[in-house]
Symmetry: C2
DNA sequence: GCTTGCTTCTACAGCGACTAGAGGTGGTAG
DNA sequence: CTACCACCTCTAGTCGCTGTAGAAGCAAGC
């Protein structure tokens, strides 16, 4: 019930103090009320909100997406179509990156396998990376 | 044989002009010799070098890794153990990211599936992201 | 009341790998 | 001669933080 200071909030949400201040500076968290000596104080709703942000980030949502989601939550009676659309789009993005990364991995695996422990000048890895033009000495 | 200007180099390597200048500024490309009027000129070896850089980047190597690889290539008689170590490490990193991303995808897929087209206030997606603390109104 | 040591404060710079823009010069084609 | 493009430099912005410097607040022990 009683308000906590920034360090306590940081501990409870596994967030760095500097990150909390950063979130405030970009308007993701409200401007926290201050004590007489200027220290930020937080209540239960701030903790909740920061949990939401951190979980959102952990799930790979951008700050802007999180901002949108929290904005949508302001209208509790609206249906959640917009929110689920954001989540669906994000899932699609992640799936795409996953596919790209898998291609990359295969390419790198081939590269690594091709190594014959040669001299640098004959290294297949170097040749593979340098491809695009056959080697022209000098 | 004849030297080319930056635009031509950009076209041949599918690189933006600004990126080429950026690579020069960070020492990834040499300081290109200039014409009388101050324009950069490039020869075949620059094209080759830039191909190497672009392919390396496409494969996800960091600029520093590329720098190291190109540095190693200066000693053509050394064996390529160091180069293949860089590649192997990078492959490992990619595999790790891939695994993390797969976990993320699964989590997001569950999230998306859980949507019941409810009011925002009852949205399961929002609740799942906000987890960490049960909702306390106000 | 003084010191110690932790927490908090502000303000700003830095990361990586570019990208974009402003504002200007050089060279050439019609 | 003028229009147009390619090129130049320099600076700032992107994203999501992280780290630093230097000052001040605050509780506890002596």
């Amino acid at each position: 019930m009683k308000p906590v200071m920034i360090g306590q909030l940081a501990r409870e949400t596994s967030t760095k103090v500097t990150t909390i201040r950063f979130y405030e500076s970009i308007g993701l968290l409200r401007s926290a009320p201050r004590t007489a000596s200027g220290r930020r104080t937080y209540d239960a709703s701030d903790i909740e909100r920061l949990h939401f942000i951190r979980n959102g980030r952990r799930l790979g949502f951008s700050v802007d997406e999180i901002r949108s989601l929290m904005g949508l939550a302001q209208n509790p009676d609206q249906d959640c179509g917009a929110a689920s659309a954001i989540a669906a789009q994000h899932l699609k993005d992640v799936e795409e990156r996953l596919a790209q990364l898998a291609v990359l991995r295969d390419e790198l695996a081939m590269l690594s396998q091709s190594c014959t422990k040669a001299r640098m000048a004959d290294c297949r890895i170097m040749k593979a990376i340098g491809k695009g033009h056959p080697q022209a000495d000098q």
